[in-house]
Each structure stands twice: as structure tokens, then as C-alpha cells.
């Protein structure tokens, strides 16, 4: 399997993720079997793959939630994760959930409120997580991830549990927020359209390897009706085994 190394067009830029020969074995099955991946600072990479191909495992390794069996893994010191489910602490109010683990103080409260305002939830600062809708809870989770000013933001299918309309709105929101804060982003998803809409680069994971890793050259704003969009979409779906 040969992959042209069109990947890092900018070797000069500073890296945010550096993976070389990453292997992770579960039982006898190598879920990740020598993955090489670099993400530059401020770059948005979408990682696609059918379920069970190890994309979440890769993300968990970058987030220090899982350990590589072999290979070099280098990540920035400040990383945050948005999971598929919001994972808010039910016994803490929304603002306390956003600032959880940060030093207490007036300044922290301010930054927490600012982060909530960015996701349009400043009015819900004193609400309990159980009273929020799914989309709202996920927006709180995004605010919680961004308030730490991460150099690497890991998104693990953050929109998968949302309804179609909320999902579109959330994608726009995340696109905006990322443009403003400029963290390096790894978005794990199985939604091809979502990947093409948001990412600077798309990679496809199959049989433990990245079978595609190419920049998205579709012009902004990205419109699914654009022939370049449709073309990339078709090729990615083919990589995923859908024709």
C-alpha cells in the first residue's frame, strides 16, 4: 500500500502531533499497525474510518487515555478532549463543569463565563447539567475543552449523538471556535461530509494504517454541491468501502 507523502507540505511549520510507527494491539489483533501522522500547529485534521478501525483508539492514545504498544507519540502538553457523550458531572452546575479542575478565583469564573458565552450558553451558567438538551450539554463540553486553551483539541465523534439540524449548527460553531482559538484539531468521525466541511486535511484509517492522508482543497465556504467537494467525498467513501 503506497501513500504519497503529500501530507506535510509544510515541514517548516511547527508540529503539534508527531506519530511514527504507532502500534496498538488488542489480543492478537493489531488495531493500529504502524501509523505515521503529523499535525501542524493550528491544523484541523479529520480522521475517518469505519467502526472498529481504531480511530477512537488513536485519539485516546493522543489524549493519554490509552497507551501505545510501539512507536513514537509526541503531543503538546495542553490537550483536551470532547467525547461523543457530554460527560458532564451531574452534581456540578454548568459553570462549575466548565471550570472543573482549574484554580478557583474570580478570573477563572470570568474565563468560564466567556467560554460559555462563546457557545451561547452564558444564561445557563447556573443550570444543572440534567436540565440541558443534548446539543446544549455538548456545547458545555466544548466550552470545557476550550477554556483550557489547548494546543491540541481532540474531538471524538462529538456530533454523532445529536439530531441532524443540531449537528449542522454545531459543526458551524466548532468551525468558528477553532478558527478563533487556532488549536491543532483531530476530529474522529465516520461522517464524510462533516470531515470535508470542517477539516484542512482528511485521513482514512483502514486495517491499522492510514490509507489516505490528503489536504482538502475545496474552497470556502464549502458547499456539498461544489464538484471538488463531491469528488473528494466519493473518493473518501470508496476508501471506506461504500460505493
Amino acid at each position: 500500500m503506497t501513500v504519497t507523502s503529500t501530507t506535510v507540505t509544510s515541514t517548516a511549520t511547527t508540529p503539534a502531533v508527531h506519530l511514527r510507527g504507532l502500534r496498538r494491539v488488542f489480543g492478537t489483533r493489531a488495531v493500529l499497525d504502524g501509523v505515521d501522522l503529523s499535525i501542524a500547529r493550528g491544523e484541523f485534521v479529520a480522521l475517518l474510518g469505519a467502526s472498529g478501525t481504531g480511530k477512537t483508539t488513536l485519539l485516546r492514545i493522543l489524549g493519554a487515555l490509552d497507551q501505545a504498544d510501539e512507536g513514537t507519540v509526541l503531543v503538546p502538553p495542553v490537550r483536551t478532549v470532547v467525547f461523543q457523550e457530554p460527560r458532564l458531572v451531574p452534581s456540578k452546575r454548568v459553570l462549575a463543569n466548565v471550570t472543573v479542575g482549574l484554580p478557583r478565583g474570580a478570573a477563572t469564573r470570568e474565563t468560564g463565563l466567556e467560554a460559555l458565552a462563546e457557545v451561547g450558553l452564558e444564561k445557563h451558567a447556573d443550570a444543572w447539567p440534567a436540565t440541558l438538551s443534548g446539543g446544549e450539554a455538548q456545547r458545555v463540553a466544548i466550552a470545557r475543552a476550550l477554556v483550557r486553551e489547548p494546543q491540541l483539541l481532540l474531538l471524538d465523534e462529538p456530533f454523532a449523538a445529536l439530531d441532524a439540524l443540531t449537528r449542522l449548527r454545531m459543526q458551524d460553531l466548532v468551525g468558528d471556535l477553532v478558527r478563533r482559538h487556532r488549536p491543532a484539531v483531530l476530529l474522529v468521525t465516520h461522517d464524510v461530509e462533516e470531515a470535508v466541511r470542517l477539516a484542512d486535511r482528511v485521513a482514512v484509517l483502514r486495517d491499522g494504517l492510514l490509507v489516505r492522508d490528503e489536504p482538502v482543497t475545496v474552497d470556502h465556504p464549502r458547499d456539498p454541491a461544489d464538484p471538488a467537494f463531491a469528488d473528494l467525498r466519493r473518493r473518501l467513501l470508496a476508501d471506506l468501502g461504500v460505493h
Binding site: T2, R20, D36, S38, L62, G63, A64, Q67, V75, P76
Partner: protein, 288 residues
Amino acid sequence: MTTAAPERTAADTRAALDAGLVTPHTRRSRPRPRALAVILRTLGPLALLGGWALASATGALTQDVLASPAQVAEAVGELWGNGQLTDALGVSLTRAGLGLFFGATTGLVLGVVTGFTRLGEELLDSAIQVLRTVPFLALVPLFMVWFGITETAKVALIGVATSFPMYVSTSGGVRNTDRKLVEAMRSFGLGRWAIVRTVVLPGALPALLSGLRLSMTLSVIALIAAEEINSTEGIGYLMAQAQNYSRTDILAVCILIYGLLGLTADAVVRVLERLLMPWRQAVQGAAR
């Protein structure tokens, strides 16, 4: 996949390190060998036993204070040989078991009623909370008046003592039932009793079992209280006699038996946890 030339990879890695990137530190829970866990568990009791033997051997612990482990073992042989121990154990276990059965069942039923129905809570909870604060030892004289020096008095005392922890745990566990699940089951036409059986009780099982654990401990304590006061057989009677003759070896045997009863109760609950909640085992340790 074509790998880049090794020297280029090394240069890349160096550049990444220079940019301040770090290797993520994972907190990994290593699977521990089962034997190690067993050894660690037995270490504490063995240390206690060793300390006791050492104190007896060096003379720090004289026989009129506490008999040595060897003498206690001898006493076990003696009591076992003349059948006293088996008789006493049988009688005491029957009392504790019967009392626990009645007490735990009462606590369970009342707990489900008050936890699951609003009417039940309003009607019963405050009354039970009042009764709960009465120390069960204060009931001993009253039960003697009511039942005389009979088995009923002893079983009733153990029953009363064991019902309250079971009640508190059950009503708490039942109250924490997933309302959404109850709603879903209701939409599929399940009646009240069917919902209790399929959703509420399985969901409350962890709380039920911790209640049972407390009740079992309390049943042994109530057993001692009941037997110490007035009985003609059982382990408490054995103890009272040993006290009269200053037989510290027999006293130690009885104390050890009470301890073993507690240990057995704990083991029983552990086994029950495994048997009654197979779905928990399936999830435990299975990382996504």
C-alpha cells in the same frame, strides 16, 4: 505504507521535541495476578495471629488474660470432640438465620413500598424512622415480658435489629431507579409488580446487597445480645459458662467463631453479588 528514510524520521522527531511536544503519560491499570490479591488479603489476619502467638510465647500475654493460639486450638478439639461446639453452633446459626430472614424480608418489602410509591413513603417512612432510632438493646426487657425466655424473643430481637439497615438501603436504592427506564417499561404495558421485578429490584441490587451486608453483621451482634442475657444453649451460653470458670481458651474460641461468622457473611454477599449481577461482570474491565 512507505516509511520515510530513517534519518528523516529522526530529524522530524527532533523537531517535534524542540517544539515542546511531550510523550503522553498514561495511567495504566495493570492486570494483577489473582494469587497476589489472595496473598495480600490473608496477610492481615496472619499478622494478627502471629502477633498473638508471639505475645503468648514471650509471656507478655499470660493465660489468665488470654490463652495462647495452641491452647485455643486444643479447646476447639475438646469442644468439638464432646459435641458441645456443633450443638451450640447449630442453635446459634438457626437463631441468627431465622432472625435475619424475617428482618431482611421485612426491611426489603417496606423499603420497596416506601421507595417506589409516594403514598407508602408518606404513610410509613416517618414512623419507621422513629422506630429506627430506638436502640434494639432497649427492646430486650420488653421482649422478655412479651415472649418470656423463649426462642421467639431471641429471633424477634435479631429480626428487629436486622430489618432497619435493610430498609434504609432498599428504599434508597429503589428511589434511585432510572425513571426513564420505568417510563419505557410502562409504555410496553408492564404493571407495577412487573416493573418492580424487572427494573426496580435489579437496579437496586447493589444497595440491597450492601444493606444485607450490614444486616448480617448486625444479626451476629443481636445474637450475642440475645444469648448473653438468658439462654441455656448456643454460643452465648458457652461463653457465659466459660466466663464462670475463667476459661479464656473457650472465650477466645467463641470470639473467633463470631469473627468467622462475620467473615462468612461477607463471603456470602460477595458470591451473591457475582451470582445475582452477571451483567456487571460483563462490563468490568472491558475497555472500549
